[in-house]
């Protein structure tokens, strides 16, 4: 995932290539909190695919791009 100055910069950088998905930095921070919050905790256990998918859905990140394999 890359961080751009603005959506205009994303469009220019893509140069006609097919885009993936674009989210705001605020949404990215929300996603990071939900996804990584427990990563160094002594109680960490691997997330299941369903748990991770639920995080994405709770944050409104739906659609084909956000479907975990």
């Amino acid at each position: 995932m890359n961080l751009f100055r603005s959506e205009e910069h994303i469009v220019r950088w893509l140069a006609g290539r097919e885009p993936g998905a674009t989210i705001s930095v605020a949404k990215l921070s929300e996603l990071s909190q939900a996804w990584w919050d427990d990563r160094v905790s002594p109680d960490w256990v691997p997330h299941t695919r369903e748990q991770n998918q639920a995080i994405l859905e709770r944050l409104g990140l739906t659609g084909a791009f956000w479907q975990l394999a």
Binding site: E7, G20, I23, V25, L28, W35, V40, F65
Partner: protein, 147 residues
């Protein structure tokens, strides 16, 4: 499936990283042969990422063990994230405010930073402009990882 002994090895590996600000080498966590064997099992379960040629740690997600374009200042140290998501993830994992330094892949030369609070406040600053809230996290070719 990660069994309890390997979960413990993973905990010790991450704890070493957080305490020392760098990833351990195998001998620093005990018997190096057993440690590498455990790391390989964790690698197979996507719980750590090893360099394929050397069996050294390369990623302890969201942390990168090697330098990247995403530098994070948090909890009194500088860290490297594997990507923008991971850079914010380092602050989340450490439960710390932090500053992320990177450059826009488009205009490159402009270096800018973000501060990030555990209350999810985000402010963006550019080195060349006083303030901008138009910055966007863009994903390009990969799908979200499963880990």
């Amino acid at each position: 499936v990660v069994d309890e002994p390997d979960l413990q090895l993973r905990r010790r590996t991450y704890a070493f990283l957080v305490e020392h600000g760098r990833a351990p080498v195998a001998a620093e966590l005990g018997d190096p042969v057993e440690t590498v064997a455990g790391w390989r099992r964790l690698h197979a379960e996507h719980a750590v990422v090893l360099n394929p040629g050397t069996d050294e740690l390369r990623m302890l997600n969201p942390f990168s063990v090697v330098p990247t374009a995403y530098r994070v200042q948090a909890a009194g140290r500088w860290w490297y994230g594997n990507c923008a998501w991971d850079a914010f993830g380092i602050c989340a994992a450490l439960h710390a405010d932090g500053r992320i330094e990177t450059s826009c892949p488009d205009c490159g030369a402009r270096r800018w930073s973000s501060s990030f609070g555990t209350n999810a406040r985000t402010t963006i600053r550019s080195s060349s402009t006083s303030s901008s809230r138009r910055c966007a996290g863009g994903t390009t070719s990969s799908s979200p990882e499963a880990g």
